[in-house]
């Protein structure tokens, strides 16, 4: 049995009594594979041993969970809420035909995969099917990158993931047509717990788009806890787009790690427009010489949304390159937090790291926190970073007005221009269009002097 940590008395500010989930060990889905069974059991122990995060912890200092009604959540599969998936979410996001598609919920999945990809040994399926059909592979790749010890929600998702996606691309298999998956998570009071595994062997190549979404009209809280583990083998090439389109009642917690081996390339794109609150930990581990990782983030918040992205670029081998750009705009009473760190290990000379976070605050009561960081333990590196929080420049507005462009349109144009560097990094018209639509939709809410 794992050691229970000492409870330190915090009499001056007790956690609200409701800050405990009602999940039980009996909810662990039994695994036939002993390694998977052990992984889940051990994760459960870790989950129980970790305290509920509070703003006393550095990582949670800016994201307060006290309004989370933790005890009311039930596993989504038990609630079995039936809600049809909106047609626009099913439209292809990449420009070409998709080579495979998965529409999944907590307990169902509809999987299609091109026969020729199956023949090449590609696995692209939901987690429940993978547990039945590929337990050995799962045992090999699951939990290798994100450890349950990384946090309460990482442990929760490791132990209780109800569904997810497994993508495995064998050595030297190059997939031309993008793969697409959608997790549809309906239900108030539902806890959606997911685990996404992407594993590319040496010299494999694929583009994969995953979206998480839920109905826009739900009011009472829902929960998502998720893990994303991404392995890019030597010389492999992964373009990975994640869209976060949760309804604005969802409290979303994710731990993600992308590991890139020698000469591999990970192009990782995040789009976040949904959820009531998000706390996302995304880590890039460049573990092999010459590995390259690019992270691009788009977010646009309104109402009292709170999005917190915690990114880490770890240069753990020589001549590795990372390039991060996160851009966000904020409306109404919303808030964003970006905290980034570039770490260069002592054995990683000739690292080239870049990180930038740019925020456009469109309302007086919106707030963006931007905290870059560098930790460099070797010489002969090139690391640069930048963080800005700004407002719409009134000289720009006047210039556009003077050309007959009305105020609202002028502001929308400036906001679109602000996001253009992110759009430039997204090679899919469908994804760009999705972001453009959310800009238009959110800018319609924009009123002056708020």
């Amino acid at each position: 049995m794992a050691e229970t940590p000492k409870v330190i008395s915090r009499a001056e500010r007790p956690a609200a009594p409701s800050q405990a989930f009602s999940f039980t060990e009996g909810m662990l889905r039994p695994q036939v594979n002993p390694k998977l069974e052990a992984y889940r059991r051990s994760a459960w122990q870790t989950y129980q041993s970790l305290p509920f995060p509070t703003t006393r912890e550095e990582a949670w200092r800016r994201t307060d969970l006290r309004k989370l009604k933790a005890d009311q959540f039930r596993l989504a599969s038990n609630l079995a809420v039936e809600q049809p998936v909106p047609a626009d979410l099913l439209a292809p996001l990449a420009d070409s035909q998709h080579g495979g598609e998965i529409i999944l919920s907590s307990s169902h999945a509809k999987v299609t995969l091109a026969a020729e990809l199956k023949a090449k040994g590609v696995i692209f399926t939901d987690l429940l099917t993978a547990e039945k059909e590929h337990p050995e592979l799962l045992a090999k790749i699951m939990g290798q990158l994100v450890r349950p010890e990384e946090g309460k929600f990482a442990a929760l998702a490791s132990a209780l993931a109800e569904n997810g996606v497994v993508l495995y691309v064998p050595r030297s298999v190059v997939i031309e047509e993008p793969l697409h998956s959608l997790y549809w998570g309906a239900g108030e009071k539902a806890a959606h717990i997911t685990h996404i595994l992407v594993w590319l062997e040496e010299n494999a190549s694929v583009t994969y788009l995953h979206e998480s979404a839920s109905p826009a009209d739900e009011r009472d809280q829902a929960l998502h806890a998720g893990i994303v583990e991404v392995h890019v083998g030597s010389g492999a090439n992964l373009r990975f787009v994640e869209l976060q389109s949760w309804g604005e009642n969802v409290w979303n917690f994710t731990h993600e790690r992308g590991q890139v081996e020698r000469g591999g390339n990970l192009d990782w794109i995040f789009g976040a427009v949904g959820s009531q609150l998000t706390k996302n930990f995304s880590t890039l581990d460049l573990v092999g010489e010459g590995a390259v990782g690019k992270m691009s983030g788009f977010y646009f918040t309104d109402r009292d949304q709170h999005l917190d992205h915690d990114t880490q670029q770890n240069h753990l081998a020589p001549a590795t390159t990372s390039d991060l750009l996160f851009k966000g705009a904020l409306l109404e009473n919303s808030r964003s937090v970006w905290q980034g760190m570039i770490y260069v290990a002592p054995n990683a000379p000739k690292a080239d790291g870049y990180q930038a976070n740019r925020n456009l605050v469109l309302s007086k009561s919106a707030r963006a926190d931007s905290i870059p960081g560098l930790e460099i333990l070797t010489d002969d590196v090139r690391c640069t970073h930048g963080a800005t929080v700004g407002r719409i420049d009134q000289d720009q507005v006047f210039y556009l007005l003077s050309r007959g462009i009305p105020q609202r349109e002028a502001e929308r144009l400036i906001v679109e221009g602000f996001f253009e560097p992110i759009m430039q990094r997204i090679p899919f018209e469908g994804v760009r269009q999705r972001f453009q639509d959310s800009i238009s939709k959110k800018m319609d809410l924009y009123t002056h002097g708020n």
Partner: protein, 259 residues
């Protein structure tokens, strides 16, 4: 010719401080009028006020465009009705291409005239843009660049004239369009303005130097000093100023005031 622009006893203040102190000026359609004057006499204030910049407060007087007062109009409405300001310091709009910006501006005009308008068809827009850019000897790649971002001084001013050519105003105010230009750029910009001259365009050319008037021949030259027009003449007035400076005008004003 009917006056396209009439400025009547205009008083303008910034933060309560009066900058323009009773300025009168009439520009008939089809004419080019130059306003010259030393620094700090309110020339740029006049330009911004004409376009409706919110920092400039009209405390007295009126501005009529085609016989209608524009004081209550927003800058975008003034533009849609046919007014144009070529900025001395055009700001950059990162991420917005010249083409995207111009198409948005054209469509805003069309929608102002007809709310049902569906916007300019893309092929028609491309043709129009190409024609105007050829005219101004601009490289086609210019259309895809972000507006004024990283533009040289000359490119910025050419981009202003391109906008003027595309938006076809009836009165164009050129605020120190010659500043910061080398002689080649000045020639190109001047040729652009000359090509747009015609019976339906009035131009108010604000300048510190006589140089640009060698290339754009004005119908009238006004001297502005301390917030007023103090001297008006023909093109030779500019040459006279070039040779003798502004002191004689100042003396004349002071003597006049004393008399």
């Amino acid at each position: 010719m009917n006056p396209v622009l009439e400025i009547i006893n205009l008083h303008v203040a910034i933060d309560g401080k009066e900058i323009i102190k009773g300025l009168n000026l009439v520009i008939p359609s089809g004419e080019v009028h130059a306003i010259m004057g030393p620094n700090g006499t309110g020339k740029s204030t006049l330009a911004y006020t004409l376009m409706g910049h919110p920092f400039y407060e009209v405390t007295e007087g009126d501005i009529l465009f085609k016989g209608e007062s524009i004081l209550e109009m927003e800058p975008d409405q003034r533009s849609q009705r046919g007014m144009f300001l070529a900025f001395q310091y055009p700001v950059s709009i990162p991420g917005v291409t010249v083409a995207n910006f111009l198409r948005t501006a054209i469509n805003a005009r069309r929608r102002a005239a007809n709310p049902e308008d569906k916007g300019i068809p893309i092929p028609e827009f491309r043709k129009l843009l190409k024609e105007k850019m050829d005219y101004l000897k601009m490289d086609p790649s210019f259309a895809g660049r972000y507006l004024n971002e990283g533009f040289s001084g000359g490119e910025k001013k050419r981009a202003e004239i391109l906008q003027m050519a595309v938006l076809k105003p009836e009165i164009a105010v050129l605020d120190e369009t010659d500043s910061g230009l080398d002689i080649d750029a000045l020639k190109i910009v001047s040729e652009g303005v000359n090509a747009l001259r015609g019976p339906d365009l009035g131009v108010l050319l604000i300048t510190h130097y006589q140089r640009i008037l060698n290339y754009i021949k004005p119908d009238a030259v006004h001297v502005m000093m301390d917030g007023r027009i103090v001297e008006t003449g023909g093109p030779d007035l500019a040459l006279h100023l070039e040779e003798h400076g502004y002191d004689w005008v100042r003396e004349k004003v002071e003597n006049g005031a004393a008399a």
